[in-house]
């Protein structure tokens, strides 16, 4: 019983983080420059890592942590790509 309650707490926290992602999406939609949007999506990626970890605990599936690991490793790639092109081509992309 106690364990179930604890799992519910973790799942609730995950839901809260998803709601937070929706709030953060305002910056993605509104951000005046592409760089703003890029940073916002990067934050969303970090957010995703947290949500996946919470889901792993809440649903009692340790294997879900592997997906979080992939995002933790690859999340910075898009930022690198866009910043690289912006520098190389003088902001034109």
């Amino acid at each position: 019983m106690n364990g179930e309650l604890l799992a519910d707490v973790f799942l609730g926290a995950a839901a809260l983080f998803v709601v937070l992602a929706i709030v953060l999406f305002y910056r993605v939609a509104a951000g005046p420059t592409t760089q703003d949007r890029l940073l916002a999506v990067n934050v969303l990626g970090t957010n995703t890592v947290v949500i996946l970890a919470l889901l792993a605990v809440g649903l009692d599936e340790t294997s879900f942590l592997d997906i979080a690991l992939i995002y933790a490793l690859l999340n910075f790639l898009m930022a690198i790509a866009i910043s690289k092109f912006t520098v190389e081509r003088g902001g034109v992309l």
Partner: protein, 124 residues
């Protein structure tokens, strides 16, 4: 009436989401003039169908398809998941072919907008 409609929507949320996403993907293919955005629309349509397969495989309160599971425990169906998993990789490969065609079209005609492209082709 409305309550039962809401209940249907709540219990079949994944399918409803899939329909709307398919609609958005189709809209992008029809209405966006830029060829790259059309390809993003095709990708969106694709993910909607992936979502359908995954929702079919889902079991409420079950566990991921790592067997042998504890006896009596429900396990999500592995079969649709395999189909989707290979389809994602094939999908990106096909997207790349589409993007290569886009690059080639730009090299030939110097534009990516569908309306301009039609004009240029009509002039030839």
């Amino acid at each position: 009436m409305i309550e039962s409609g809401l209940e249907i929507l709540a219990s079949r949320y994944a399918y409803a989401l899939m329909f709307v996403l398919m609609g958005i993907g189709l809209y992008m293919v029809i209405a966006n003039e830029n060829l790259v955005k059309k390809l993003i629309g095709v990708n969106l349509f694709q993910t909607a169908i992936f979502l359908f397969f995954i929702a079919v495989a889902y079991v409420e309160g079950g566990s991921a398809p790592i067997v042998p599971a504890e006896s009596g425990e429900a396990v999500a169906s592995p079969l649709p998941q395999v189909i989707v998993l290979t389809a994602i990789v094939v999908g990106i490969a096909l997207t790349a072919v589409g993007l290569a065609l886009v690059v080639r079209i730009y090299a030939e005609y110097g534009t990516l907008r569908e309306d301009t492209l039609r004009e240029v082709r009509a002039d030839e």
